[in-house]
Amino acid sequence: MRQALDSLGFVLVLLAIWQGLHWFAGDIAIASPLDTARRAAALLASDQFWPHFRETFAALGYALLIAVLGGLTIGLLLGLHRLSGEVAEPILVSLYSLPKITLYPLILLVFGLGMSAKVAFGAIHGIIPVAIFTLGAVRTIRPVYFRTARVMRLSTRQLVTGIVLPAAVPELVSGLRVGFALTLLGVLIGEMFASQRGLGYLVMNAIGTLDVPTMMAVVLLLAIVAVLVSAALLHLDRRLHQRAA
């Protein structure tokens, strides 16, 4: 309870800093929290906002689906075959820390402008953390499980669905949490550069017309959605890890 109050206090401190910055920098640079909230409410009520919202979250949905299925498959294959895992892991890690934005022009040249380029760009952001976490999860499964599976003469499919996947689920959710954040980032960056639709485009468009309240309202809405999804995943993550421990 006290912790919740303290967290609330922290939010109030952030709001106070925001208001202070608004007084310091003026209306042209930073809209006040109240103005931003008003504009956010107006956006939510308007018809122009929702197509952009749907565009971004449809792209996020497809990208996340590709990232999870692809990352899961890569992670499982590499995790079950020891040598492949050893070969691939440093490559995955260095891909993870690469500024993937430099590859965006390549993706635009391959997929053309539009939805598919955004989905592809989001997916390459998300697929690597999911693969790394899955690989780690499969590798740390206790060897006795595999021996038991061999004694019981389980087929590979039974081994994967009966042992590997359930044992890997907690780590998978951790990977999904990181993957979700990065995929959203990828989709938004994709929309901020050479795009005509989506929330990232709305932000860039707002700066073009120096419409600071709209820009901040879109960012605020995005942040709220992202934090809610991430908090839900974090909650699930902690529950699963506790149960596994």
Partner: protein, 249 residues
């Protein structure tokens, strides 16, 4: 060398050769991608001409500034939070969900506030890196064995010497993880910011070349960034391994 290292080298070389072959045979169109050898050749020419030296220096300077700010700021904030548990519990939910916020969307806002110069670019790089450093500082300080701190007290060490001689070395592995992430995130933040909106730097040069259909320059600079970042990250990775090995981890 270990067997896995050999195979890895072969896989990477094979991949580059495959790309080269696909581009040369026309399976990948000229307008989409140029062969890796052509990228390297053009990059060499650009570096010799020095046409992009200014942009390279600027990007590296921004990355360095963001990195130093993130490491120092993250370490100080992390230490403060560690010393003040109540504040730490209050901000904990925010630290945990921080990376979910696509705060890259704040970048245009920073441009409005600071103008189109290096400040918003460095700030975005800093924002990307600082929380990784805070989290790892907290993690490292949490893992200091209490017995070491007690021993320091018995030996009569003051707070400063305890921090320098006992706590810092003991938390070093986690701090190093934070530093490693901070450098990677600084690169990502700075180059992405330059790419989206700026007037100079490597990220900007790539976006500019893309918009002008100058594929050769674009791919040459992409190759430069990929090689540079991989080398820097690998350097930190090897360094970390050394530290870990010395501690028998």
């Amino acid at each position: 060398m270990k067997r896995a290292t050999w195979i890895r080298t072969l896989v990477i070389v094979g991949f580059v050769l495959l790309l080269e072959a696909l581009c040369r045979w026309g399976a990948i169109g000229r307008m989409t991608m140029i062969p890796p050898s052509a990228m390297a050749e053009h990059l060499w020419k650009l570096l010799q001409e020095g046409r992009y030296n200014g942009d390279i220096v600027q990007t590296l300077r921004n990355v360095l500034a963001a990195f130093v700010l993130a490491v120092v700021g993250g370490f100080v904030l992390g230490s403060l939070l560690h010393a003040w548990p109540r504040a730490r519990r209050a901000v904990d939910p925010f630290l945990a969900t921080y990376y979910a916020i696509p705060f890259f969307a704040f970048y245009p806002l920073l441009v409005v506030i600071f103008g189109l110069n290096a400040a918003p670019v460095i700030l975005i790089g800093f924002l990307f890196g600082v929380v990784a450093m805070i989290l790892n500082t907290l993690n490292g300080l949490d893992r200091i064995p209490p017995v070491l701190v007690k021993t320091a007290r018995i030996a009569g060490l003051g707070p400063l010497r305890t921090a320098l001689l006992v706590k810092l070395p003991s938390a070093a592995p986690q701090l190093f993880t934070g530093i490693k992430l901070a450098i990677a995130y600084s690169f990502i933040g700075v180059i992405a910011a330059e790419f989206i909106m700026s007037t100079s730097g490597l990220g900007y040069s790539i976006a500019y070349a893309f918009n002008n259909f100058d594929n050769r320059t674009m791919y040459a600079l992409m190759l430069f960034i990929i090689v540079l970042v991989t080398v820097v990250n690998a350097f930190f990775h090897v360094w970390e391994r050394r530290i870990m090995a010395r501690r028998g981890l």
